[in-house]
């Protein structure tokens, strides 16, 4: 999911950076005092999640966790993800500084969209909440893959081919993210429901 330096043309990079900056501003505005610690913890989780490799078949995939971050933070997921991506770029050389904006849009955009769509369902009955959370995890990766395709559309052959390739490559992780998000939400629902959207405003 991390797009490397030097792949994208500057209009794409600039658009990504502008969108990411706007999202970060909105996120910081919406992040109130009581949730700063939570944002930090989720940012740290996102930062290390990409190091957790899940072996499947001949290769392995890594967690992304943008769904969980989005669901628990809403718009504040954008600054949390920007910080984590920046540190991943500097310390792990995943992605890059110039592509930070684009990568933020790829990961945080779907997280916020999934939050807006699915958050109202999380306060419903446990079973509905479970599957809503599953869909959050699933779609936040799926939409991320489609966004990668969009970003690469201007440099590589065609949008559909690239997007299909990225989505196919990430299919296992969509399922895994779905269940991780779902179990995370049903756990929090029992233990600490105040963290979940719906119970808090």
């Amino acid at each position: 999911m991390h797009i490397s330096e030097g792949v994208l043309s500057w209009p794409v990079l600039a658009t990504g950076a502008a969108l990411a900056a706007a999202g970060t501003a909105v996120g910081l505005k919406k992040l109130d005092y009581d949730r700063i610690a939570q944002a930090g913890i989720l940012s740290a989780s996102f930062f290390v999640a990409s190091l957790v490799h899940v072996p499947i078949g001949p290769s392995s995939v890594h967690l992304i966790l943008n769904g969980v971050v989005g669901l628990l933070l809403g718009w504040a997921a954008v600054p949390a993800i920007v910080v984590a991506l920046f540190l991943q770029a500097v310390l792990f050389q995943y992605g890059g500084i110039t592509t930070l904006g684009v990568n933020t849009v790829i990961m945080a955009g779907p997280a916020v969209i999934c939050y807006l769509v699915f958050a109202p369902m999380i306060s419903k009955k446990p079973l509905i909440a479970f599957w809503a959370a599953f869909l959050v995890g699933f779609f936040s990766v799926l939409l991320g893959g489609i966004t990668v395709g969009l970003a690469l559309m201007f440099t590589e052959k065609n949008f559909f081919e690239v997007a299909a390739m990225v989505v196919a490559a990430h299919f296992p992780i969509m399922i895994i993210e779905g269940f991780v998000t779902a179990f995370c939400v049903s756990f929090l629902k029992k233990v600490q429901p105040s963290l979940l959207p719906g119970s808090y405003h």
Binding site: S4, E5, I36, G40, S59, A168, I175, F179
Partner: protein, 206 residues
Amino acid sequence: MKKALIHLFLILMIFASFASFDAHAHRVTIFAWVDGDTIHTQSKFSGGKRVYNGEINVFDLDGNLLLKGNTDENGEFSFKVPKNTSLKIELIAGMGHQNEWIVPVEEIGTIKQDSSVASDQPEDSNSVLETKTKASITVGLTGEELEQVVEQAVEKKLKPVMQMLSDLSDPGPGISDILGGIGYIIGLVGIGAYFKNRKKADSENP
């Protein structure tokens, strides 16, 4: 209901494990070394998976494209030195993954001289070898033969070392990177809390 869930989960997991996916990683690396008049490159994703059919472009440092090719199933691509200059080898692995490796002119320069010797040899190497088999017991090896034999032996011995170097050139993130990153995040939380708290305190008792 619970049972149904568990079944669904298992089915999905099995399905997931069959789903084919290639080229999934954070980044790609390319590693190149000079061997005689040939440059070998090896490309892989972090985690060690080889780049199959990745696009390789070789530039000189002025950005002129000298040659291009594709990696084989082992992520390898070899080519003859096209020009006696520093080379920039660029790897494009698709899905936004790209990296490059620079071969400095010194590495190529020293080799070029050797390779001129080597390229002179093929014609007479047969005859040299023939005379060698006839007369080696009595005469021993000539300087040229010796050079050739040594070169071959060294190349053979060096191959695994180069492999190791190629592996080492891509160290995963270390524990200090991870802890450092988490430390930065904690620090940012502190800064954020400080500013928000000041705002809050200001609004409470102006």
